[in-house]
Structures are given as structure tokens and as C-alpha cells.
Point group: C2
Chain length 359, copies 2
DNA sequence: ATGAAAGCGCTAACAG
DNA sequence: CTGTTAGCGCTTTCAT
């Protein structure tokens, strides 16, 4: 029983009309152009026969696949699932399907995946991987596809993007630590290859200055990437360098986890001996031991907005490039406290801006 | 400068051959049937022109989209990302692309998504959502699509599936607790709507029996779903019932988290007053306070195997239905300990099987 | 309001 | 070894 998939022609035959009439009836663009009775009959037959329009044929014809590709470094990074869901939910509302691919920040994979996306004629590309030195963006722009960056921004080409407000977030963290009385604050920065890494570093410097604290260059350590492993390594280097400090601003939660590990390994108590802050507020950060003080970014909403930008970009290709920064929120938990050498006796070293921070 | 996408015909024109020759040259099925020189020329031209085969046209023609759909309840559940990656990595190796959709266990969404998948003519469907009473599986089978269940099994129809070995996992947990000297063990079961919920419940009963422990029906509480929230609610009911118990086997890690919350709220110390076990070993379970004793399931591998089954199923539709159970591993951490009323003085109540369990 | 015809880009069957 | 032809399923002119 070789059941062929039912086509528009089968419907036409049964409904006793021409295939093109079926197409019109089922799409009914603005009004109908098809008599109500015919439409009803066709719809009934279509449903009866279990007709499913072939999206490939439609796409081939219309040169529009109702498909959007997404490049992420690694779905397994807890940062991404909520973003992806936000994107998918919004795109789904508009009939679009999302094609996800993981790049592992591997240039060869990026290239290969981009190829696949082009072959599949995606209507646009949402990119969460853009490393600054990567040829990816150039390739994408050459491919002449609508692009939206998510959780990233571009330095060179002006591209629409949606990200969290890292600058404000780092500001909240720095002020929080300053308010607690910390003066010797270290920063575990992450790779300069990515705008989030670079921006947070720059923000750290700028807010330290604003708050009236000196940045000791020896208290900056760089992680090759945003991982626990790299965070641990960098933090060990920092400790081995022997400079005194009472707080660490980690580039993100994973890096902060690396600090937790090293602290345990060296017998340092958090927050008694050392305050540590993260970034992103990944799931379960409130369950860590101690619960992590971090910055909450509305990842799901970032996804939703990215999808909105993409939809807009598809509908009007020439439209203005917008970049959104969604608000960051400081979440104070158990990994930060007054420094061991006691709180500052006056708050005069803390900028008035400090008051603006809140949990 | 309206740059049309380059087609096989453009390549043919430049290479001065017929379009079909280009097709042959670029696909070169078994051997060539095209002279090496021509192939070289065509390949060069194609590359030069930046030709990208149109996957839609190919799919329409071949009636095969090199696309697999996946239905999951919620990507945001930490259980799924590794499974998805496993699937995607393996499928990608074979040129397939994965379409992911979240159903939120909503029947209407399931139906709608299935429609989309059929319209997009996916070559197969990987399903992680199969609730027992859902019409989804029936619909899928009616659609005559290759299916693989992942992290689920079906009761009625015989369908290929890949899941963790829940039975062995629960066995390891029960034996572990028994070895520690627990005799009054509660179970926070999850919904019977899903095989994982039901199976773990049944396994709990069966292993308790094997280990020589009595199951108090009053010590079984049901969670509507595998969530922290539901776990907390169920656990409160259990506590309010007033029966004595020293350990809780939670249906999964999220449910165990609900217990953690309620324990904190009621002033119960883990593991001093109460031992708690989870299931799945979600990311960061080792960082909870206390670190969670749980069962590790090789989620990524489950994904890989599911993809393998799917690829096999696509290649030979009639092939035998296989169901895989990947090994579970007990991970003993800080949430389990000897019960407050002291360890069993003898291990004679513990089955010899207990020795088989290991961390 | 509906039918006819063409073509989106590709491949496979059939010539030669 | 390569050219010709036809058609996958759909939409969209253009007729009527």
C-alpha cells in the first residue's frame, strides 16, 4: 500500500476544480477571489484528504523558506537555551522555523554551517557566536542575508544586535563591592575575541574609576574563554602572583565557578576571605555554595527581541539598524560580603552613583 | 545591483556544458560518468561563482529533505541540551539538519508542530515528549514517518527508543540508601503520564522488595510533573502526613530541588535529618548545598544513539525496532548519609546485589 | 470566479 | 561521456 503524499492536484481532482483554484482557496491572500462555497468545499476536501502543503515547493516557488538559521557556540552552555527559546517562540508565532547549529567556536565549523544555511536558503541568520576576528560576519554579509547578532555586538560593520546591558551590569557589581568596602578588586576578564569579554573588561575599568577605586593591572587576569576551567586557571595565576585583593569580579558565572573551585582548593572561604561575583545568573546560581552574587540578564527576552529584529529585517530589508540593550539587574546573594579587613569606615570613597544599585 | 542567486544553469553556461552535466559533476554518485577534466572545470566554475545548490529544489526532486524534526517539552530543562547536541552532532555528520520545537507538553502545540514538521517534509521525527495518553504517537504513526523516542519509551506501539537505564539507576539508589542503613524510604514519584515517571516508580517498588525493605504506601507522593515546584508541593504533603522516614528517592533532580527548598523551609538538615537522592545529574548538581547524590545518565550519548537509530530507520524503513538503554551510574555526594537513628548494625537486610553498586 | 500555462532549481531516465 | 526532456508541488501571471 504505497500511499503517495497528497498534493494540491489530488485535492483539485476530488473537489472538481483546477489546482490553481485550490491554491487560491487555501491561501486566500487578502479576500478570496474564490466563491465562498468553493472555498468551503476545497477546505473540506483538503482536510479530508489530510492535505499538507509542501513547504519545499512553496519555498522554491516563493524564494522564501520561512526558516531562520541560528549559530550558537554550544547549546550546552546554560546561557543559550533561554535565548533560543525566546527566539523560537517568537518566530514560531509568525510561522517561521528555527534551524540551530553549534559551532564550538570553531572556524571550520562556522564556515561549514554557514554553507548549510545558505543551501537551505534560510531567510535570515541569528548569530550568537561572533568572535571579533572571525571571518564569519564578513561571509554572512557577503551572502547578503539579514543578520541579527544576539548576546554579541559587532565592532566593525554596523549590524543589528540584542544583548544585555553589560556596562550597567558591571557597574552595579562594582558599586556593590565598593559599597561593601572593597578597595582591592580583581577582575577575571574573558577573551577579548568577543565583545562581551572586551566590554565587561572596559566597563570594569571605567566603573572602578567612576567609583574612585584604583585598578591594579596586576589584578586583571585573562581567561582564554568563558569556562570554568579557564576561570580556574586564570584565578590560580592571580593568586600565585601574590597581590592582595578582597574581591573578584568574574566575567561570567562559569568563570566564577572556576574561582569557587580554586578557593576550595586553596582553603579560601567565600565570602569571608574573598567576595566573588558572576554574570548572567545561570540556572541554579542561587543554589551554589555559597549562592552566587551575580547579574541577571533577561535572556529569554533577548531572544524574543532578536526574533523581532529578524522579522523586521526580513520584511523590510533596507530598514534602519537597531541595537538593543536589555536591562541588567544585580542579584545580591551569599558570595559577597564586607571584606575581611573590615568595612570602610566612611562611604566617602564611594561615588554617589552607588546608591542607584539595587537587588 | 540585483544579484540573483546563482543556479546550476549559470554554472553550466560559464562552463559551457549542459545543466545536467553540472549536476552530475557536482554529485558524482558512484564514479563520475563525467570526464575528469570537465568535472574539474565545473567544480572550479561553481566555486568561482559561489554556487550553492538549492536544498529545496533537491528536496522537492528527491522527496527527501535531509532534515529531521525533534519535539521536546522545553529546551530550558537542563536535561535536554546535551541530548539535543548529541543528536545534532551525529545527524550533522551525515548531512542532516535538525529542526527543534518545544511543546511545553501542550497537546495543541504538539499537534501544530507536527503539522509544521509534516509540511516541511522532515525525513523523520525524534520525540522526547511522548506522554502516554497523548494522541501524538498515533498521529505520527499515521503520518508514516520514521520515529525514534528519546528519553522515553512507548507502552503501546513498538517504537525504537533510546533512554537511560532507569531501572538499574533506581536500583543503585535504593541499594545505596539501604546500605547506609535507611529502612523507611519515601519516593517522590512523578507523573504516570510519562514512562520515565511510571518506570521509576515501578522500579522503586521492585528494588525495595529485592533489597528486603517494606514500602509504605503512605510514603509515596506523586508530582504532577518533573518540576521543582511540584516536587516541593508533593514533599510538603508527605511531611504533613506525619509518617516517619529518613530518606527520599526523588523522581529526578528538579524534584529533589523542591525537597531541598521544603527542607530548608521546615528546618530539616540534609543529610543529617534526611537523605535525598535525585536522578539525571543535571549540570551543577555537584555544587548544590549539599551536593546532590544522584544518578548520572549519559545524555549526550543518548542523543548520539537516537540519531543513529534515526539514520538507520531512514535508510531502511522496514528494519527491526530496537530500543536502547544506556547505563546509569550512581554518583554519591553529600545529600545522603547514615540515617539519624544510626546505621543498621548489620548489613544482613541488604541484598547481596547491593555490592554491585558503585560511585 | 475560475482555468491554462509557465517556471522556481534540480535530477534522473533516456537518448545519442 | 554528455545533451535532451520531463517533472517534483506549488504559485502566479494571463486569459476567459
Amino acid at each position: 500500500m504505497e500511499r503517495r503524499t497528497v498534493t494540491i492536484r489530488d485535492v483539485a481532482e476530488v473537489a472538481d476544480v483546477h489546482p490553481s483554484t485550490v491554491s487560491r482557496a487555501l491561501n486566500s491572500r487578502p479576500d478570496g477571489m474564490v466563491s465562498a462555497a468553493t472555498v468551503a468545499r476545497i477546505v473540506a476536501v483538503a482536510k479530508d484528504l489530510g492535505y499538507q502543503p509542501n513547504a519545499l515547493a512553496q519555498g522554491l516557488r516563493a524564494n522564501r523558506t520561512m526558516t531562520v538559521g541560528m549559530l550558537i557556540p554550544d547549546l550546552t552552555n546554560p546561557l543559550f537555551p533561554p535565548i533560543v527559546r525566546g527566539i523560537e517562540d517568537r518566530l514560531g508565532e509568525h510561522g517561521y522555523t528555527l534551524l540551530i547549529a553549534n559551532t564550538d567556536n570553531d572556524q571550520a565549523k562556522e564556515h561549514a554551517i554557514l554553507d548549510v544555511m545558505r543551501r537551505r536558503r534560510v531567510d535570515g541568520l541569528i548569530i550568537a557566536t561572533a568572535r571579533l576576528e572571525s571571518p564569519l560576519l564578513a561571509e554572512v554579509m557577503a551572502a547578503d542575508l539579514p543578520v541579527v547578532l544576539v548576546n554579541r555586538t559587532a565592532d566593525g560593520p554596523v549590524l543589528p544586535s540584542v544583548a544585555g546591558d553589560d556596562h550597567a551590569g558591571i557597574g552595579a557589581v562594582v558599586r556593590h563591592l565598593a559599597e561593601l568596602g572593597h578597595t582591592r578588586i580583581a577582575h577575571l576578564a574573558s577573551t577579548r575575541e568577543v565583545t562581551t569579554g572586551l566590554n565587561r573588561y572596559q566597563s570594569f575599568l571605567s566603573w572602578m574609576d567612576t567609583v574612585g577605586l584604583e585598578v591594579d593591572p596586576e589584578l586583571i587576569a585573562w581567561c582564554p574563554w568563558f569556562t570554568q576551567q579557564d576561570g580556574a586557571t586564570a584565578f590560580r595565576q592571580l593568586l600565585d602572583a601574590g597581590r592582595r585583593f578582597t574581591a573578584v569580579v568574574a566575567a561570567n558565572d562559569l568563570v566564577a565557578m572556576g574561582c569557587y573551585d580554586v578557593a576550595a582548593e586553596r582553603g579560601l572561604r567565600i565570602p569571608d576571605d574573598l567576595s566573588i561575583t558572576g554574570f548572567n545568573d545561570i540556572p541554579f546560581a542561587e543554589r551554589f555554595s555559597p549562592p552566587l552574587t551575580t547579574v541577571r540578564i533577561p535572556h529569554y527576552q533577548i531572544g524574543v527581541k532578536a526574533a523581532d529584529l529578524m522579522l523586521g529585517s526580513i520584511d523590510e530589508p533596507g530598514s534602519e539598524v537597531v541595537s538593543l540593550r536589555l536591562p541588567a539587574e544585580l542579584v545580591v546573594r551569599g558570595s559577597t560580603a564586607v571584606p575581611a579587613d573590615g568595612p570602610a569606615t566612611t562611604t566617602s570613597t564611594v561615588s554617589p552613583l552607588a546608591a542607584a544599585s539595587s537587588g
